[in-house]
Amino acid sequence: MNDAASESRQHYLNCDYSVRSWLLTTDHKRIALLYLISISAFFALGGVMAGLLRLELLTPQGDLVQAQTYNKFFTIHGITMIFFFLIPSIPAVLGNFLVPIMIGARDLAFPKINLLSWYVYTLGAAFTIVAMVTGGVDTGWTFYTPYSSTYANTNVILTALGVFITGFSSILTGLNFVVTIHKMRAPGLTWFRLPLFIWAHYATSLIMLLGTPVVAITILLVALERGLGIGIFDPAIGGDPVLFQHLFWFYSHPAVYIMILPAMGVMSELIACFSRKRVFGYNFVAFSSMAIAVLGFLVWGHHMFVSSQSMYAGMIFSLLSFLVAIPSAIKVFNWTATMYKGSISFQTPMLYAFGFVGLFTIGGLTGLFLATLAVDVHVHDTYFVVAHFHYIMVGGAIMGYLGGMHFWWPKITGRLYSEILGRIAAALLFVGFNLTFLPQFVLGFLGMPRRYHVYPPEFQMLNVLSTAGATILGLGYALPLLYLTWSLFFGKQAGPNPWGAEGLEWQTPSPPPTFNFERTPVVTQEAYAYDTELEGHRV
């Protein structure tokens, strides 16, 4: 790589260094980086909250903070991690950056709406930060009524408005992706030649569009009930507090698929590249993404098996919940089969892929426990649930996010990072994660409820193990922050395709020029054409 030549080449980062050019950009790649900064800040905040929670739980007594403070900590942890980190993470950073490039387009369909979505996110974030700084909120991220609508005396309305506003950011991103994928594919790029990352983001966007508005109106009603006394969920005037749960979970269950589908998309890309093979059962993986999106809307009642919902409704939701597990299983089998007779290498992104496959499998299997009615009666609202969803959200989604970040970092920044540090961090994360959350399955089955800041002494040993794991986990997260930032200034320059990967994004320089391609590519073959010569096909 000729450093002088590459420095003189103009690309999306060096074309304009002014602050104005960043804050008023319509370039999807710059918007992706704006999001990267925002969500990283919230991840840090949510992580600090988690650390404080685990610190308190070292001992059975409430000796670190008062009860209400602890309750605020877990509420803020949930809200920041779900709404301000996980839901945007892959779509708003990797999706925004890659969707146009992967389909050979110059930008998304609506670049100004893309920028608007970031400002909307920031506005919602501002409301939420103000809520936290002026006293916090202690309803849990689930805002159950009538506690949230009538009894809580913390900043419910401010937080609800913050989440309400940020929801629109999600809707706008989903809208942009759907239209872009439908209308702006390069010549020759038919639906079944698309990278599975695109299929995953398409399915995710459908959920964002259809689900988010429902939680928006639900949260708005809670805010109205609290602020104006308009009672909709208040049993004192005949309102139904369980109706809130139905409306809330109608979105919040599909929301978990918003969080995992993009990570699954990343997995397809990573495993194909580092096995140097096309994804086994491409059609099945693509259709599984769509099936998950559809079925995901039909299972919300599995959060409410003990809520006084009818026994028969419970049975229907249980059956559907088992069905929605099947497409995820199909994907895991197909990814495993992709490795068969492949050419496997073990760079950092692939280590995250291994981690994902293992941890997502465990997380998904433990979901079956929760779908099983009689077992859920016992473990609902215990640490078993906490362990299950952290296996999926952290072991799955965050591994996917980090794997993707490490894979596309050279493309995004034009820099390479230390492979050794990358592998150490991945290993630390895997070990730390399991130590943190595996004991929680046992804790849950033993009967320790969630959202408890004190607990019976017989639960202490498992809690200590969990906190020890959390420390290692924290270290594992700090490492990439450090070496990735370091690479921005001191990392080796990256070529257009450091991994030898297939895909249109690797046909353009690292970092890409502002309009992505010199000339619109024409696509003539399927995705993941690893069996042809790497240099063989031209744009």
Partner: protein, 320 residues
Amino acid sequence: MWPTALSQGLRWFPEQASTVAGQVDALFLFLVAVSVFFAGLIFLLVFVFALRYRRRAEDERPKAIHGSLILEGLWTVIPLGIALAIFVWGAYLYFVISRPPAAAMEVYVVGKQWMWKLQHPTGQREINELHVPVNRPVKLTMTSEDVIHSFYVPAFRIKADVVPGRYTSTWFEATKTGEYHLFCAEYCGTSHAVMGGRIVVMEPAEYERWLTGGVSVESLPAAGEAVFARLACNTCHKTDGTGRGPSLVGQFGQTAKLASGETVAVDESYVRESILTPQAKIVSGYPPIMPTFKGLVTEDQLLQLVAYIKSLKLDGQAKP
């Protein structure tokens, strides 16, 4: 034998102290076996493939394998079959957990921030504790005075939310004497984590002694009868049917025909609703003149009234 401390430390399951606990645990163990099998299978395959097919030369280019319809079919249908089997087992057990046996002893529970109030049919009241005899089914009828709580006894493997504005119920039959944790399992505010207590399961003779041991109290139906008289319900609901309202004798457990033409089951919820919002479901043939008692009765008193009305049985004579 293992020292107690060590066996305490190695505990994986709570005690099995109810008739369903063992069955729930069996299903749980089956799920663990299925999970270990599939997770193990994936882990093994990934490990073996990673080892066996690791890249040996930089220019390796493996042949493409598009897929296999047979494999897709197999790994769709087999997991589906297992999933459906688990579903059926779990749904059946859930059915059992949801339906109390007919002759269950009734206990009434009121949850409020941040305590549990329990009333025995014989009148004893407890706070955060429930004494019950072993080997006897107990049905809990519950409501909340404020926010949603959840009544959870891990040793019995039962849990049910306690919701304001309605009655929810669950049941158990304890099989081992001893003391077991009672937890609130639905976040309800500041002191959610300390809103717990214990269930004390005793031998029947001991339970009888406990019942009669304390201050003598009136039974729930008797307490309800007192409330009924104090609020002058008996001026309209005369037992001979000549009042402006229907006689309540023998009504509990029947179905009533409403003015709107619909029928309704006369259960705890209907009784409660009729006291708080009488206009909602008027019995056919009676004028809509019953006033509401909202604000004039507490949840405890409502449960006493429910118990009283339940106790109004028809005697041998035919009654209107």
